[in-house]
Amino acid sequence: LAKTTQPISMDSYEGQEVNITCSHNNIATNDYITWYQQFPSQGPRFIIQGYKTKVTNEVASLFIPADRKSSTLSLPRVSLSDTAVYYCLVGDWDTGGFKTIFGAGTRLFVKA
């Protein structure tokens, strides 16, 4: 299983763009990269998923370089409500089932 490494915490101000990078040097060919947002006392919420290059949806963009050893979650114009923990998850199906591993997460603090 590919281990993920993220910054422990990040600070930002309202209206800024925030980029959170995740390293996953041992990512396997079949692995997908998924990012989740988690507020206190709630379950993780799916943000975005990608395999390679760039993926964009209504809330975020995900940039994955060609070697796929890292990925960057980009949150445009953050607000106070984006203060949360963000998890990078790498995994997919293998012969043993759906295998994933969560990293420690990045605590994002958005200030006014």
């Binding site: 997908y32 998924t34 989740y36 006392s41 379950g43 089932g97 759906f98 994933t100 969560f102």
Partner: protein, 113 residues
């Protein structure tokens, strides 16, 4: 994505007792999983709940402590047995959907006193 409901959402339990957490999904799913998240920590996979057969446990988790049932494709239960304060955690049900994505319920927050 599937809607995942967990019960209870929160409970305070006496040490030595057991509590069963229910997970209901609004659509049939092949794979269901149970995670634990201890205070201030990341998520750890407890087991994969297999429909019609015994759950597959991850290293460090055993069936006697965390028995799991999966009677059909929309429902699963996790029991936390003989609880101690170290079991105080959020327990999360999740499902695999869309081929490569897992989605989570809101979690069940257990405090053992």
């Amino acid at each position: 994505s599937a809607v995942i409901s967990q019960k209870p959402s929160r409970d305070i339990c006496q040490r030595g007792t057991s509590l069963t957490i229910q997970c209901q999904v609004d659509s049939q799913v092949t794979m269901m999983f149970w995670y634990r998240q201890q205070p201030g920590q990341s998520l750890t996979l407890i087991a994969t709940a297999n429909q019609g057969s015994e759950a597959t446990y991850e290293s460090g988790f055993v069936i006697d402590k965390f028995p799991i049932s999966r009677p059909n494709l929309t429902f699963s239960t996790l029991t936390v047995s003989n609880m101690s304060p170290e079991d105080s955690s959020i327990y999360l049900c999740s499902v695999a959907q869309g081929g490569h994505t897992i989605y989570f319920g809101e979690g069940s927050w257990l405090t053992v006193v």
